[in-house]
Structure formats: structure tokens, C-alpha cells
């Protein structure tokens, strides 16, 4: 019976799509498409990294210009340095987690936002003067990021399309 067959096909399509979307199920906070999940993990990674860097350079500037070895005892005593390092570790763990499902060719440029955030934080919290060249760099990175994001969205659309096609064959 053609009608039943069509119905069963539709159900199967449904199931496949559900299975695909289900890759990020099990974690309510992370539910959604895989791109959303990647972004949800990378944003805290980028902020942890940026705040960590601010802590580190704040403390290092207080210490001043020293030798690497004479720094060690100072570093162990300083809670700011510990906090900064801990944040960098958290950021690394999140970065690695995102790589467990996302493309390296997407995650790597995506994480370059951290360079932009670092410049903004440095100018805001550390009162560093940011040159015009740097702001040009910020602009270029931003355009690059938009392109990378668009390519990822396109790839995801194609992946979804392929799954739908595969299930109707």
C-alpha cells in the first residue's frame, strides 16, 4: 500500500533528524544544534582565558621585570597568579571538550575572539593604550570570524540536508 509506505518513510525521516539533533541531548543546558553547543562551550572558555590573562598580567606588572627563576617563589605565594592559572586551565578544558565534536578548522579561528577580548580588556581594565594598528587587527579578525561562522552554518545545513536525503532513499 503506497500510503502506508509514504507514512513509514516520513516517520523514518523524522527519526533520523531526531537522532541527528539528539547528538547534544542529555545536557539540558547544551541542547540545540551542534553549532549552538560549540558556541555555548567556547564563550565561557574565551572569557575564562581573557580574565585569566588580566589576572596574570596585573600581578606580573606589580612584580615587575624579573628573572624567570626568581619569579617562582613569588608566584607560589600569589593568589592572583593561582586564580589566573586556574582560569587558563578551565579555558583549556572547555576548548578540548569542544574539539570532541567540532571541527578544528572552526574552533581554532573561533577562539581567536580571545585576542580581541584581550585587547579590549587590556584597554579597559589595565588602561593600556591601544594603537590604531591593533584596532585594525580587531576589525580584520571580526570580519574573518563572520566568514568562519557562516561557513560552519552552511556546513551544518548541508549535513542536515544529506541526512534527510539519505533517509528518503
Amino acid at each position: 500500500m503506497p500510503l502506508t509506505r509514504g507514512q513509514s518513510l516520513r516517520t523514518e525521516t523524522h527519526l533520523r533528524v531526531e537522532r541527528w539533533e539528539g547528538t547534544s541531548r542529555g545536557a539540558p543546558a547544551l541542547r540545540g544544534t551542534s553549532l549552538n553547543k560549540t558556541i555555548a562551550v567556547l564563550i565561557p572558555a574565551i572569557f575564562a582565558q581573557a580574565v585569566g590573562n588580566v589576572f596574570l598580567s596585573m600581578r606580573m606588572k606589580e612584580i615587575g621585570d624579573t628573572h624567570l627563576l626568581s619569579l617562582l617563589p613569588l608566584a607560589i605565594e600569589s593568589p592572583t597568579l593561582w586564580l589566573g592559572t586556574a582560569l587558563l586551565i578551565v579555558s583549556f578544558i572547555l576548548f578540548a571538550a569542544a574539539l570532541s565534536w567540532a571541527d578544528l578548522s572552526f574552533v581554532l579561528p573561533a577562539v581567536s575572539v580571545e585576542v580581541v577580548v584581550n585587547v579590549v580588556f587590556a584597554s579597559y581594565f589595565l588602561n593600556e593604550i591601544v594603537s590604531l594598528t591593533r584596532w585594525t587587527g580587531v576589525l580584520l579578525i571580526s570580519i574573518g570570524l563572520i566568514l568562519v561562522l557562516r561557513s560552519e552554518r552552511e556546513k551544518e545545513r548541508q549535513k542536515r540536508h544529506k541526512l534527510l536525503e539519505g533517509s528518503t532513499q
Binding site: G26, A27, L104, S105, R150
Partner: protein, 116 residues
């Protein structure tokens, strides 16, 4: 400088390979995450990634002690391009033209920012 860029890129590629071998993390259950963490630490590709990143870090420190900062920092941004080549050739990721364009712009932007 070549050692720095290659080591950093190799680190990225191996790290990704290891994480892909462990599989997609799709839980926030602490106990499961701990088990995944243990699996990650025991993964050879992941450890190779950490090894290369350490090589990168120390060679970077060494180079910083003698080389010109205005050369080292911008040159380091080539990692974006080299890692993407690694992702394409070794990890078999498809890299569309639009993404290549974006990565080149990011590379250029990072180079500009890291000029002293």
C-alpha cells in the same frame, strides 16, 4: 620559528584527534565527565598533543629570550593557517573556501594586533 609553528599546529591536530577518538561529550553529569576525563588523559593522541604543546611553549620561551618581539609574535599567527592545513590533510575536515578566507583574515588580524 618553524619549530614553534609546527609544534603548536601538531599539538592542535593531535589534541583534536584524541578528543574525536574519545567521542562527543554530551553530558554534564559529573561522574560521567570524570570517567571521560580519565579516558582523555589515557588517550595517546591527546598525550601527543600535550607533548607538542609543551615543546611549543618551551621553544617559544627560548626564542623570546633572544629574538625580536616584533617578529616572533606576528609570525606566530601563521599557526592558524598551518593548523587548518593539518585539519584538512590529517583530520580530513572539509574546509570550504569561505572558511579559508575567514582564517586568512583572522591570521592577518592577529598578526597586526601582536605587532608591538
Amino acid at each position: 620559528m618553524a619549530t614553534i609553528i609546527l609544534a603548536d599546529s601538531a599539538g592542535d591536530v593531535f589534541l583534536t584527534k584524541g578528543m574525536k577518538e574519545v567521542g562527543e561529550i554530551s553530558t554534564i553529569n559529573p561522574r560521567t565527565l570524570l570517567a571521560i576525563g580519565r579516558k582523555v588523559i589515557g588517550n595517546r593522541s591527546f598525550l601527543a598533543g600535550i607533548f607538542f604543546i609543551s615543546i611549543f611553549f618551551f621553544s617559544f620561551l627560548i626564542v623570546l629570550s633572544w629574538a625580536d618581539l616584533s617578529f616572533v609574535f606576528p609570525a606566530k599567527s601563521l599557526v592558524y593557517v598551518v593548523s587548518t592545513l593539518g585539519a584538512k590533510w590529517i583530520l580530513k575536515e572539509t574546509v570550504p573556501l569561505q572558511r579559508w578566507g575567514g582564517i586568512f583574515l583572522v591570521c592577518l588580524g592577529v598578526a597586526l594586533i601582536s605587532l608591538p
